[in-house]
């Protein structure tokens, strides 16, 4: 459809202008990734407080939190009705909706977006469920690359201890849909070992900044601040142009 293509071309030009304009503070996207129990949420909250004190306008987005798709996923998880493909596709839909409704609008306005889990969570969990990485990665196209990805590395044992200290893991969190293990704690231990293995591969492929999440909370926070100060000066990734252009064409933004 020529008009669709022409509109995308215009949007690409507009995206480049906006995100490479040296006269304005561009939006920044920072992702916090890691297995459950790695302390991401604690660090995300500390980081956000610090950023606000530094004058940043901060927006937070969490995994599986879109107002539109979350209820659909929640009701199906409750009755344990999801196959790995359905689980993957619905989380992909939730992510896409948040990219379009929350993340890109905030970046466009020059805000700093902290993502408590990003698409790498989908990749690690889906591949741990036996799905093909290439298929899953393409579901998330057009890809939106964060300016920084902090990966909170913990061992499966630490993750298991922290998660099960106060509660039992849920059915899908424990991977019981694929392990066939009745005991959620035992199932979690097996499943999280697979998830961590996938995360470690992704950390290498996508050049995550690894934070040793076995350190003290204060030490991790200091490290994140230093790495952020260093990393925020990175130029905008031109790989993001397709994601921004598609959103612009859809939203009808002109400038």
């Amino acid at each position: 459809m020529p008009s669709v293509q022409a509109s995308l071309q215009r949007a690409r030009r507009l995206a480049r202008q906006r995100f490479t304009d040296p006269t304005r503070r561009r939006g920044l996207l920072v992702a916090f990734e890691g297995p459950d129990g790695s302390g991401k949420t604690t660090q995300r909250k500390l980081f956000k407080t610090w950023l606000k004190s530094e004058g940043y306008d901060v927006v937070t987005t969490k995994w599986n939190s879109s107002d539109l798709i979350k209820p659909i996923i929640k009701s199906r998880k409750a009755v344990r009705a999801l196959s790995p493909e359905e689980f993957s596709l619905l989380h992909g839909a939730d992510f896409r909706h948040r990219v379009e409704q929350v993340i890109l609008p905030a970046l466009w306005e020059g805000k700093l977006v902290i993502a408590d889990r990003f698409l790498f969570t989908g990749l690690a969990r889906d591949v741990a469920r036996g799905l093909d990485l290439d298929w899953v990665l393409k579901l998330y196209q057009p890809l939106l690359w964060p300016d920084l990805v902090f990966y909170f590395a913990v061992s499966p044992v630490t993750s298991g201890k922290r998660v099960t200290a106060t509660r039992l893991p849920t059915y899908y969190e424990a991977g019981q849909d694929i392990t066939d293990v009745d005991d959620p704690v035992e199932s979690y231990q097996r499943f999280i070992a697979r998830v961590i293995r996938e995360y470690e591969s992704l950390a290498l492929i996508f050049n995550f900044i690894t934070v040793d999440a076995e350190q003290s909370i204060a030490e991790q926070h200091r490290q994140i601040r230093d790495l952020f100060i260093e990393g925020q000066r990175r130029p905008w990734s031109a790989w993001n142009v397709d994601a921004v252009a598609e959103w612009l064409a859809l939203s009808g933004k002109r400038r």
Partner: protein, 200 residues
């Protein structure tokens, strides 16, 4: 398995089109033609979109949740199709019954192309769907909203294109055109990795 079932005759028939009523009529006709003479217990059935109830749930979402984009709609369609394959199609085929899937993959791909999405993204999205043994594309009796309102294309166009009747009509007409034109030749499946492996 039913005693009357004949596994060798199980067939997956795809019927695609934007006009939901015409698609359903064609699906019933295809099923009848394919299973004529078969015992009642081995005739199979028709798998229709939204068997999972995903779009029904979407319909009741609050307005301020935001409209889904074509990509989001297609991810949801794929999730619904995965559900239909798991609960309706594969069990029936395993019992030797014929299943008419109406609509199947081509309707969604044509809708995606009409919305300007890349062909390779669409092809990857539906990689999990088996090839049908027979395909039918049903021409719309008219691409007005009334003719398509019960189908995926009508639903998705109404939600994605917002309230503008003209924008909705443009999307529906373009979907119909892409369906008539057919999909560009796909690369051969040889060497393609399976979607799911046993987790190690």
């Amino acid at each position: 398995m039913s005693a009357a079932a004949k596994p060798g005759r199980a067939r997956l028939i795809a019927v695609d089109g934007v006009d939901a009523q015409a698609v359903l009529a064609a699906a019933k006709a295809a099923l009848a033609a394919s299973t004529s003479g078969a015992p009642a217990g081995a005739r199979g059935g028709v798998s229709r979109w939204d068997a999972s109830g995903i779009f029904q749930d979407l319909e009741v979402a609050e307005d301020d949740a935001g409209s889904p984009s074509p990509r989001t709609m297609l991810l949801l369609y794929a999730a619904d199709l995965a559900f239909r394959l798991r609960w309706q199609v594969r069990p029936a085929l395993a019992e030797g019954r014929t299943v008419v899937v109406a609509p199947y993959v081509e309707t969604a791909i044509a809708y995606g192309r009409a919305a300007g999405l890349p062909a390779n993204w669409l092809a990857n999205l539906f990689r999990f769907a088996p090839r049908p043994s027979e395909r039918h594309v049903v021409a719309a009796r008219g691409t007005n909203a009334a003719a398509v309102k019960d189908g995926f294309v009508g639903f998705a166009s109404a939600h994605v294109a917002g309230k503008g009747a003209h924008a909705r009509q443009v999307l529906i007409t373009a979907t119909e055109r892409h369906l008539r034109r057919g999909r560009p030749p796909q690369p051969r499946a040889r060497g393609r990795r399976p979607l799911r492996r046993a987790p190690s």
